[in-house]
């Protein structure tokens, strides 16, 4: 029994330590972020930010688009199979449009980026730690948070909402394709219905979520990298851990945001 309590206590303290570290890292990054901005910041940081934006956003575009098309199609088919029984197949348009802008677009994008870029952040920073590159930054009087993390975070804050908008668009296009194939609904008419069914607040709440997801993915990925201890095997563990933890936290954050928007933002 004392062992069980001891383990519970230790795990709790470890989790609190992790949350505390994430918080400290977030505030340190926000303080250092100015250096990554264009014009007012350091031009080398901004160049690093642009490189990161290409890696997080542009390189993920085919994957995110395909995921959105497949999910849009699946959602439309599953919705139609039930709604058809009640003669309400036209509600598939609302289901896909509202479902994507509020929920599926941000979530799918976050899961894809977490797998691609969250793991890459952890691996890159973990390797820099193992090979003493982070130490060499410090002895050159350069702050690793400013040098490594700030460009990644800013790039995530810009790229992930952009990817989310693209994901929304492809999901809705896939829904339109299904409606055309199954009911011969004209694409222009479909898009008019889509615009009628979604409100600006749906898009904004989705984008707020995507900013929160970008924060989670960038910070969990980077923190896992900074926490690497030992050799290359721990880099592998941190990479796995970055994906698992960021995906888990993205879903938890999604639930929290959805609850907040459900109870506070009324149509």
């Amino acid at each position: 029994m004392p062992n069980v309590l001891e383990n519970v206590g230790r795990r709790t303290l470890n989790e609190l330590d992790y949350v505390g570290s994430l918080n400290i890292q977030l505030w340190s990054t926000l303080r250092a972020m100015k250096s990554a901005f264009p014009l007012v910041g350091n031009r080398y940081r901004w160049r690093a930010t642009v490189r990161q934006m290409l890696q997080i956003g542009y390189d993920a575009l085919p994957m995110v688009s395909m995921m959105a098309i497949c999910t849009g199609f699946i959602l439309a088919m599953q919705g139609a199979s039930e709604l058809r029984r009640f003669g309400a197949i036209h509600y598939v348009i609302d289901l896909v449009a509202v479902g994507f802008t509020r929920e599926l677009g941000p979530l799918l994008t976050a899961i894809a980026v977490s797998g691609r870029s969250g793991s890459a952040f952890a691996a890159e920073i973990g390797t820099m730690k193992v090979t003493e590159e982070l130490d060499s930054l410090r002895v050159m009087a350069l702050d690793p948070i400013e040098f490594v993390l700030a460009p990644k975070y800013l790039a995530g804050l810009i790229s992930i909402p952009c990817l989310t908008i693209i994901s929304n668009a492809f999901g809705i296009i896939a829904g339109g394709l299904f409606m055309f194939l199954s009911t011969r609904l004209a694409p222009l008419l479909y898009f008019r219905y889509v615009l009628e069914s979604i409100a600006l607040r749906d898009v904004i709440t989705g984008l707020i979520k995507s900013v929160a997801f970008a924060t989670i993915i960038a910070h969990v990925g980077c923190l896992e990298g900074f926490r690497v201890r030992g050799g290359p095997d721990s880099v592998g563990r941190s990479t796995t851990s970055a994906v698992v933890k960021s995906t888990f936290l993205v879903i938890v954050a999604d639930a929290i945001f959805t609850a907040i928007f459900y109870f506070t933002v009324r149509p």
Binding site: N42, Y44, T131, E132, E133, D135, S136, R138, V139, M140, A141, L142
Partner: protein
């Protein structure tokens, strides 16, 4: 007045004492070699000297500033006068050798790009890498990487150059070339040089004075002639390459005897 002064330095990791009350003065322009076997604490001492870790107690005073207690801005100022080449070279893999050397100049000076290019070429020429600036670190041999790390450490013309195991893992010819380079830097630029090594020929070639570390304490500090003549058994073991703790046959036999009488083995 010493440029580096270490006073009663104690370092502990998880309650295990790694450095135990060290005292050492390094004079300006001196080449000090920290010699010692694996696990003697020489890399730990080096990390204290460059301010990467804080001790449990004691002081490390560099150019009159106690880096164990100073503010981050004072530490940054001290770090501008220290150049460090790590054991693993720690060149940034994503940057070319030229960009690695240019990094501290771009970050800490307002020099025009053409002047930075010229300075980088000069630093690379000093270490014999003038024709290899465009290559990535992974395209260089082990010795070239180390020389690249020395070039980067020299970028800001530091007063103190710290080298961690510069000849480890190199063939004798390349190691001898590095020794000559270190001597050249000392003579030409009047730098204070601290070298951590366990390579005896390198140590005796480079050093003005040698500090011999043994289990976290200095077993001997003196000129290379004094160290060569030392009769301290710990120094003699190291210099004569004789094993310090031969397996005690009686103790091993007693251990097995005890093991054979344990209840598990008799069941």
């Amino acid at each position: 007045m010493p440029i580096i002064s270490i006073r009663d330095l104690v370092v502990e990791y998880d309650g295990r004492r790694v450095l135990d009350g060290l005292n050492l003065d390094v004079e300006p322009g001196e080449a000090m070699v920290l010699l010692g076997g694996s696990g003697s604490g020489k890399s730990t001492l080096l990390r204290q000297i460059i301010g990467l870790e804080r001790p449990k107690s004691g002081n490390v005073i560099v150019k009159g500033i106690d880096i164990t207690r100073c503010s981050p801005s004072e530490l940054k100022k001290v770090r501008h006068s220290i150049g460090v080449a790590f054991q693993s070279a720690a060149l940034f893999n994503s940057l070319s050798v030229k960009d690695n050397v240019a990094l501290p100049l771009r970050e800490h000076t307002k020099l025009a790009p053409s002047i930075i290019d010229l300075m980088v070429w000069m630093k690379l020429a000093v270490v014999g890498l003038a024709d290899f600036g465009k290559l990535l670190p992974q395209e260089l041999s082990g010795g070239m990487k180390k020389r690249g790390a020395v070039a980067r450490a020299l970028a800001l013309d530091p007063e103190i150059l710290v080298l961690d195991e510069p000849s480890a893992g190199l063939d004798p010819i390349v190691a001898a070339e590095l020794d000559e380079l270190i001597l050249l830097l000392k003579e030409a630029f009047h730098m204070t040089i601290i070298v951590v090594t366990h390579e005896m020929p390198s140590a005796f070639r480079i050093a003005d004075r040698i500090a011999m570390l043994h289990q976290g304490t200095f077993s001997s500090v003196g000129t290379k002639e004094e160290i060569k003549a030392s009769q301290d058994p710990r120094v003699r073991h190291f210099l004569d390459r004789t094993p310090e703790d031969l397996a005690n046959a009686t103790a091993v036999a007693a251990h097995f005897e005890k093991y054979l009488h344990t209840p598990e083995i008799n069941q």
